[in-house]
Subunit: 569 residues, 2 copies
């Protein structure tokens, strides 16, 4: 910090670099709005009040000036963009800081992936704080690209952008005192420990918190949020692409506890980021639902800064970073100008040119498939088969049992009953693992879809009507170094390359979104009635969410937490 | 942290060590009070809710259970007791944690003094957090026992009980960007920077904050507090022995900003600690003035924990330390039981026996006076003299000019006009410095008083009617290794030994208080009408508070910030 320069500007002995005149200042410290001038010297706010001069003067003519928004918990990978490109997408929405858990890339590339996220964000315009991923891999019943132990993630503590341990999803492990979990908690006990405790209540919740975990973003009901707030948890209200919690949770907020509530997006897809927005969208939604606008803005700013101990963000005060947004309508704030560290970076919803120069991406190929071992044949070893039952807009599946359709001694798809072949091809270590199963509820009438976004191990998942289409889609993904593809027979009809760990694109978010739209069109042409069969597919391999899932090592009965055979007789 | 033991108790698999049943839980997170059971395993709270068993069960029968109080800013030395004995005085008042600035002892013994405070508090029952003293010495116009530069106090950063930089009293130095001051701010910029900015407003206040300072405990008016709160400062409302700010400041608190207000005592003398209390007294006073009791308790607990980043204190929640108080009357909470880390340490206003074993004190003698150089003669080099005008109950003095009373070529006291001789004898480095002057408003008719508590340099101050009494009082203090004394002629009539740096006693606070009472009686018998002439004396040598003061190097015109002659003609 250049004290002399800052002090000279604060005293008024030298002009501010930037002076906002005639602002309506949104004061999140006191819950007030009043007219004020705000002086900035380079990256920091230095003075609030009359009598300052500025090298550059912005007359806000009564528009509102508020602190930049903070996303308390986001997986950047869900945007399918690198941190740099993600920044370009959300900064125009007034989000100047995010706290990210690089959990997806960590499952693919381990510490190398986390370092990539830190490195890619470095010197970028967006403040990207990282929490050390706590649950890599999710279970032993799939093959991830990496396994992170306490002693490995401890290494991240030295990085000043790392704030603590990311959402501890293994809540049964915490509660039971599982040693490798406790090791991680202990390693980070002097930092922030984020939680993930859907539906947890009573003694198990007490135990989870007794281990030092202080936040949760998985509340589904206001009662759940109330119990957690009473126990001293900070609650992140989430509005993601799939998970929508604001409507249910907002009634739990009171003037007394609202200081301990933040906003987060968790997972947002490109189209939602571009059309709805990010934290700004949650703020508008909360106000529309009746929350006091200043309280909503505080949840989106100061509360997160306080929770994470970010003393230099979250409010408009001398010494804090000049992360600021300008808007006109308090009842529905739409950032018109966004300043990051005193620099105008976005205007009227668009990032300014030249603000975010690209950075070269140096990451190893994350597609390591033993193609010689890959085939999608399922020998018919019985007549009754387990079938994963996809439930629209849900991550949970049904555990169905159906008659197998058998041809030439092999179980094949049965479009009449909407039963398709599904395969999970291990892609991290060339093990040759291919898990095979059947799935209902995807609705393809021909062709196949494939992709390397498959929570949390992110192996290559393929769902299709016939083996030729499945192989064409899978091979297309392989050729791209990861991504999404749709094929009909040998024709690949749409693709989205995601060469960064098989999760993220190197292209602008607009192109990612266009490719995704084309993929969804293609899947529709192949007969799927789903809004987004790729997203549905990305959760069909997630073996920690009930009931029946498929990983590269086989079918998982999640309720019994064990591998089961495809055939029931 | 013993995870397995804590988790087992939180799950309910093992009994809690301590279970509070039928509590009315004061929830500072949500601002609610409701019936609850609270389970503690050893030092930590592990569970809140029904169904817990305990090895020891305390049926509170509907009494209130709240977190232990936190004093956000206190100079322990003002109690004239060592940290151990101070703990014994305040724990019965429900204060389980204090944040102390060892500024007084640092002025006498430097880092050795600060280490003594840390060491003496170690393994003690009271949580004693230390802020690194920022302004030692206060100015160049007195001789202190130590000088602390940035590189010296930086050494304290390694101690886990050190939270940051203590009140930066040199606000002109901050605002002007004085290099040694900036060095200290920069050294601690990643920690908490406490402020001290009486009356600061507008641009100078912005500059002070732009340097990173985040709190203030010197507000005198509600408007001043409001301006500082708006700028993002945390405000500590102080009720000390001399400084009473609650009545003036409380109206600045609103439901929106009250999360950023804490309580502190700053300086409290033994009698006030024993009779009124500490933070508990402020809580009762705030409630009596109309503040919501839960808000008052939150100011005394969670707000301070949040401000200082103490994630394991300040509220009743799983994982937090079991620092708890029990009381019956919400409109005037008087702690009936006080628990520190799950252990009952005080009951009905008294520390339990055996809780706080004494620790040996090993500190060098802090009385280094060149007695050969000490005399109190003032040669008459003029006829008009400057006289320090003591103003009852104020730290500021008047700058008077009077006719000198001269005898045998020397200026002497003039009890008729209440003009006494005052001397400040350098006691740290045997320099032989003796500053001499005259003072009005102390009221002694005969004899003299002397003491080594003299902010901030804590040299030996003597005020008296005649040289014989002054020498007797001064010598008595010297013999005790520091302390307070009153003499009449050659007779020493009352003493309080303060051998620990000349500031603190080694005796129990009750004896300290009894000795102080005897000293005040003695001063009364010598003719002083003041409530406490020793306290008045202790500020007459403080050269940073206007208008006229005396240090060992001479009379200081504080407004001109320079040394002036006793004689004006």
């Amino acid at each position: 910090m250049d004290y002399q320069e800052i002090l000279a500007a604060a005293r008024g002995d030298k002009p501010a670099s930037l002076l906002f005149k005639n602002a309506k200042l949104v004061n999140v410290f006191t819950g007030e709005i009043y007219p004020a001038d705000v002086a900035v010297r380079r990256t920091r706010i230095v003075g609030i009040g009359p009598g300052y001069d500025g090298e550059e003067v912005i007359d806000l003519k009564g528009r509102y000036l508020a602190p930049g928004f903070i996303d308390a918990h986001v997986h950047i990978e869900s945007s399918m963009c690198t941190p740099r490109e993600f920044a370009r997408a959300i900064l125009p929405h007034g989000v100047t800081s995010v706290v990210t858990d690089p959990h997806e890339i960590a499952n693919v590339l381990g510490l190398e992936g986390i370092s990539f996220m830190l490195e890619n964000a470095k010197y970028g315009v967006l403040n990207v704080y990282v929490m050390a991923s706590s649950c890599v891999p999710a279970t032993h019943m799939s093959t991830a690209g990496a396994r992170l132990e306490a002693y490995e993630i401890e290494y991240l503590k030295g990085n000043r952008w790392v704030l603590g341990l990311a959402e501890m999803m293994n809540y049964p492990g915490v509660i039971a005192g599982q040693q490798d979990v406790v090791d991680k908690l202990e390693t980070f006990e002097d930092m922030v420990l984020d939680g993930h405790a859907p539906g947890l209540t009573g003694k198990p919740l007490n135990a989870y918190m007794a281990a030092g975990i202080r936040s949760d973003h998985e509340c589904m009901t206001a009662d759940e949020a109330r119990e957690k707030l009473r126990l001293g948890m900070t609650i992140f209200i989430r509005e993601g692409t799939n998970a929508h919690n604001l409507r249910n949770l907002l009634s739990a907020a009171t003037p007394e506890n609202s200081h301990r509530i933040c906003f987060c997006t968790d997972d947002r897809h490109p189209a939602d980021l571009m059309e709805q927005g990010s934290i700004d969208y949650i703020v508008r939604m909360a106000i529309a639902q009746g929350l006091d606008p200043i309280t909503a803005i505080r949840m989106a700013t100061l509360n997160a800064a306080d929770y994470f101990g970010l003393r230099d963000r979250g409010g408009i005060a001398p010494n804090r970073r000049a992360d600021l947004i300008v808007f006109s309508d308090l009842s529905a704030p739409v950032p018109e100008m966004v300043y990051r560290s005193g620099r105008l970076v976005a205007q009227d919803g668009v990032m300014l040119p030249g603000v975010e120069p690209p950075r070269p991406i140096e990451l190893r190929n994350a597609m390591n498939v033993d193609w010689g071992a890959v085939n999608f044949d399922i020998p018919a070893n019985g007549s009754r088969v387990r079938v994963i039952g996809n439930v629209p807009d849900q991550l949970v599946t049904e555990h169905l049992v159906r008659d197998a359709r058998v041809q030439d001694g092999r179980v094949v798809g049965d479009t009449e009953h909407d039963i398709l072949t599904m395969a999970v091809v291990e892609r991290h270590r060339s093990t040759g693992n291919v898990g095979k199963g059947l799935i209902n509820g995807i609705g393809l009438k021909r062709g196949a879809i494939a992709g390397t976004v498959a929570h949390d191990h992110h192996n290559l998942v393929v769902i299709g009507v016939d083996n030729v289409s499945m192989m064409a889609a899978a091979r297309a993904v392989g050729k791209m170094g990861g991504g999404l593809a749709a094929a009909n027979g040998e024709n690949v009809i749409a693709t989205l390359p995601l060469p960064v760990a098989g999760l993220m694109s190197m292209e602008p978010i607009e192109e990612v979104r266009a490719s995704l739209d084309a993929l969804l069109d293609a899947a529709g042409q192949l007969g799927s009635p789903l809004h987004d069969p790729f997203m549905a597919m990305s959760f069909m391999a997630l073996e920690v969410i009930p009931k029946l899932k498929l990983t590269d090592v086989g079918l998982i009965d999640v309720e019994r937490f064990e591998i089961v055979d495809l055939f029931v007789d």
